[in-house]
Symmetry: C2
Subunit: 408 residues, 2 copies
Amino acid sequence: MALVNENFLRLPGSYLFAEIAQRVSAYRSAHPDRPVISLGIGDVTRPLAPAVIKALQDATLEMASEKTMRGYAPYYGYDFLIEAIVKNDFHARRIPIDAGEVFVSDGAKSDTGNIGDILGAGNTVAVTDPVYPVYVDTSVIAGRAGTLTDGQWSGIEYLPCTAENGFVPELPKKHADVVYLCYPNNPTGTTLTRKELKKWVDYAVENRVLLLYDAAYEAFITEKDVPHSIFEIEGATKVAIEFRSFSKTAGFTGVRCGYTVIPHELKAYANDGSEVSPNELWKRRQSTKFNGTAYIVQRAAEAVYSSEGKQQIRETIDFYMENAKIIRTGLEKAGMKAFGGVNAPYIWLQTPDGKSSWEYFDYLLNELQIVTTPGSGFGKSGEGFVRLTAFGKREETVEAVERIVRSA
Amino acid sequence: MALVNENFLRLPGSYLFAEIAQRVSAYRSAHPDRPVISLGIGDVTRPLAPAVIKALQDATLEMASEKTMRGYAPYYGYDFLIEAIVKNDFHARRIPIDAGEVFVSDGAKSDTGNIGDILGAGNTVAVTDPVYPVYVDTSVIAGRAGTLTDGQWSGIEYLPCTAENGFVPELPKKHADVVYLCYPNNPTGTTLTRKELKKWVDYAVENRVLLLYDAAYEAFITEKDVPHSIFEIEGATKVAIEFRSFSKTAGFTGVRCGYTVIPHELKAYANDGSEVSPNELWKRRQSTKFNGTAYIVQRAAEAVYSSEGKQQIRETIDFYMENAKIIRTGLEKAGMKAFGGVNAPYIWLQTPDGKSSWEYFDYLLNELQIVTTPGSGFGKSGEGFVRLTAFGKREETVEAVERIVRSA
């Protein structure tokens, strides 16, 4: 009798964004005459940079000729892309990451989801609260979460990030083996300073904890004291894996490319305490369950690091960050409490009148035709907030803010 | 203390094709003057079809404009591609598969590897022997394989496919819950008739066994009685998941697209015997751990089903199958025992003089500069064989056969 992974049966309802998509779709069907503005899912709206388009076109032509076509890509990425990554994202910041520590993939969501494959079922996981649902849901699927009570899993330690503590999580009070951190943060849009992140690295070194550091939004950092990579922090190469994405940096949500950095000196442990290299395990995982990222996509990612590419991408990020400013300052002027939006494309808005997240989500959708993401969908401490994204079109972003302000 | 998945520590050495790549690379470094002909890894050498190139170009242009750019793709694939798949691969063969049963991905290797996510750790797995290593290695990683003794895992039932039984596996003698079948077969290049496959479906229905059916090579079928899909067999929608690939069909090894069919009426079971829908579980898995396949790649896959695309792809497949014929007939004329190559791009060659697979692999590489794949890398019953692929260039294929024949 073929048995299913019963951990799936513990997962409540559907994945957050699937649920939102369904509600929006239902509203649109019922009100085809009322255009909806989406500041919900963190999806980009600007086209790919011209340098990226050109790289795609050139690479496509290569695929058309017997002499230049490419078959299976190397499992961990083409050297040309890995070298561009190492040089621009690390060596330019004096971070000593080498090519053998970088693994190119079809995106950070796959990697943050699949990384659990190389980790033991017995690990105790800690996450910030609110949190990107993928970390929790994949922990559940892997059998690391225990049982669900009142919206929280018995096997997971939640580290509240609230307006009261400035969205800076305290170190775990209970035992933890693996901690997911995402900075700049999704969903709150807040960050950690170097000093705050150093505290985490020291904690991890001392307790042999693995930090799974999601830096998908690093390109949006504008303030100087905010680290772009956890590997800027001394000791981090011993305790951290970092996830990076081209999705938001370069508008690749529909192109699919990201990468993961697993330092050679990072150690995890067998049950008997002996040291094991996650870098080696991930190599085995990727060569067994993945077949490389498309050649044309890797050429497109490489173009992100060309001088034209860098400038074009900077302009797009500046455009989105201007949206973020419009949202945040507009809402604050109207007396609302809004956080984030300075080093991240997300604004974390406290709901007015003590409304619950889903109540305010429904109000914004049904009354103002604006899609947000309910904060409670990211965890208990997200209750009473909604997330707005800066990825909208300019006129729609302005219009949405005006609607909210008028109704406030 | 961060714990690793200790199942990785049980896996011997590296993934087969990584090992081959390493030996070939070492030979090339030592003998830069001796060009090596690769009939090893099943990678294509012909460029993408013009219709596919045009689709990539058009879709790339769409990504360059704000009005037509696409962000995140639907988790399970765009409707335009799913509809083309359903119409051409299933309805044209009178197989009643619907759009909600098709899941587009970045390739069949990912899907055959990741499918284990939705299956319980307690399942007993059966595989044919020889077998595509991904099925076994991912079963090991998931903790379903037991311990390794003399090249075989205690928790896996191996179903020998040998020259003696015509490469037709017998039904499992012991208990099995999940059976991987790959037809046309990699590595032997052999097939099952409808009647033989019916035996498997009946067995699965009777014993509530799940069949994981890898049909990546269906486009190479030339004989009439060979099923293209397991869903041609009555009852299969109750017991089978089918994996399909554009890699070999349309030369997408470097483009990355495949799909998986999970029928609505397929059932698997919770420990208490209650029925669970794998279709629903896979939806949850993909929306949680995957973020869709690139828009441009899905447009490229759609073009495979256009009338120009079909014709161009047919020509390429015919080209490869002519290679297969050249290899098989050439070797047979020299008195060697060669199998497959009629409905599949693989020729399964018995080694001469009782050489082991790796001995003959090393001989062919070092003496004749030909890369093959050692049969023993696919399992115990593969010992004494090497696999040759039909994906080479014509002149190299002819040259390789002549070299083998001369030395035979």
